[in-house]
């Protein structure tokens, strides 16, 4: 960038494509993440740190499962249910997966309607997302109670390696907590959308910053991340 820049600082300058553009963005001595507001960038960085948290949980589970000399309980059987007399392996987890994916779909559409300033549809879709999330947590509570009733504890279980219980409660518990916080976050933002806070740029009570529809997308990032983590838990803990 040898030519003097005459454009106002707020406007994004054209950048070379590919790796040269990457280097230019990082070396620009301005904001690194252009086209992305601070709120979105910070949510991404938070999600990156959360990735490491869940990465460590899954790694701990992998180490426990690989290093035990006792057979690991078969998740396909542990999470099976009798529905109408038929034995369905892993069915509850499959339903939970579909519920969470559906909530991601409605969230993506809520973000879309938010930027179109369609208050009703945005709020309705966010509430639907929260409802799916609450359903997921409810099913998880059912799953936990069932396993606890069957004798699964963090220090042992009737079917095999003792580490099964601790890995299960730690990983799904932490994920369920994330879903719960996501539902609360969704309800708060949905209320603001419904009330029209972002039409009038009403200031938030906590940061006193002007409310913008972008918060819907930032909430969406968090929500999709929760779904993303479930994809990995589903693959490694339930299916493996």
């Amino acid at each position: 960038m040898s030519a003097p820049m005459k454009k106002p600082a707020a406007e994004t300058l054209p950048r070379p494509a590919g790796l040269a553009g990457l280097a230019a963005d990082w070396a620009s001595d301005q904001r690194t993440f252009k086209d992305v507001s601070w709120g979105k960038a910070m949510m991404w960085i938070f999600l990156l740190s959360d990735t490491f948290v869940f990465g460590c949980f899954l790694l701990a589970y992998m180490s426990a499962r690989m290093s035990t000399a006792v057979p690991w309980p078969n998740p396909s059987e542990v999470f099976a249910l009798e529905i109408g007399g038929t034995h369905m392996p892993l069915i509850l987890i499959a339903i939970m997966t579909f519920v969470l994916i559906s909530s991601s779909g409605t969230m993506a559409m809520a973000v879309n309607y938010g930027y179109r300033r369609d208050r009703r549809k945005t709020a309705a879709l966010m509430l639907l997302t929260a409802l799916f999330g609450a359903t997921f947590v409810g099913m998880q509570a059912f799953e936990w109670s069932k396993l606890i009733a069957e004798g699964v504890r963090p220090w042992g279980n009737p079917w095999g390696a003792a580490q099964f219980g601790s890995s299960f409660f730690m990983i799904t518990g932490f994920h369920g907590t994330h879903v719960t916080f996501g539902v609360i976050f969704l309800l708060i933002v949905a209320r603001k959308v419904w009330r029209g806070d972002f039409e009038t740029e009403r200031r938030g009570f906590f940061t006193s910053r002007k409310g913008r529809y972008e918060i819907v997308e930032i909430t969406g990032l968090y929500w999709h991340f929760v779904d993303l983590v479930w994809v990995f838990i589903f693959a490694f803990f339930y299916l493996w």
Partner: protein, 119 residues
């Protein structure tokens, strides 16, 4: 450009910060995620075992994760500076995985050697 008339009060830079894509795309991805989840469930339902099972699980997992990050989280439309900052660090976890695989094998070896298979 559906977002052309939105946010007139904001600066020009804010325009590009908006992620506006057709609803149809989201519905398509939603459908694909349903199909991929159903397929990964079927891997368990049909009781596939061994390397076939593990590779199918990993393929479906990566496809689902990729769709969610790329489309639902709009990563496909972000600049490389952000994409690499977010995607590359988690890949380093694979180094940690390699370390722990080696460590777990050693722990299993010591357990079998000194405890005769119990615990």
């Amino acid at each position: 450009m559906a977002h052309a008339e939105t946010h007139p009060a904001q600066t020009a830079a804010a325009h590009t910060e908006h992620q506006q894509h057709p609803i149809k795309l989201y519905l398509l991805v939603w459908g694909l995620l349903f199909i991929l989840s159903a397929l990964s469930y079927l891997v368990d339902y049909f009781g596939l075992q061994g390397y076939l099972r593990w590779s199918l699980i990993l393929i479906f997992m990566m496809l689902k994760a990729g769709l969610i990050v790329a489309v639902f989280m709009h990563m496909a439309w972000e600049r490389l500076a952000l994409i690499y900052a977010i995607i590359l660090p988690p890949l380093l976890v694979l180094v940690f995985v390699a370390l722990m695989v080696s460590e777990s094998n050693y722990v299993l070896f010591t357990r079998l050697t000194f405890f005769g298979g119990g615990e």
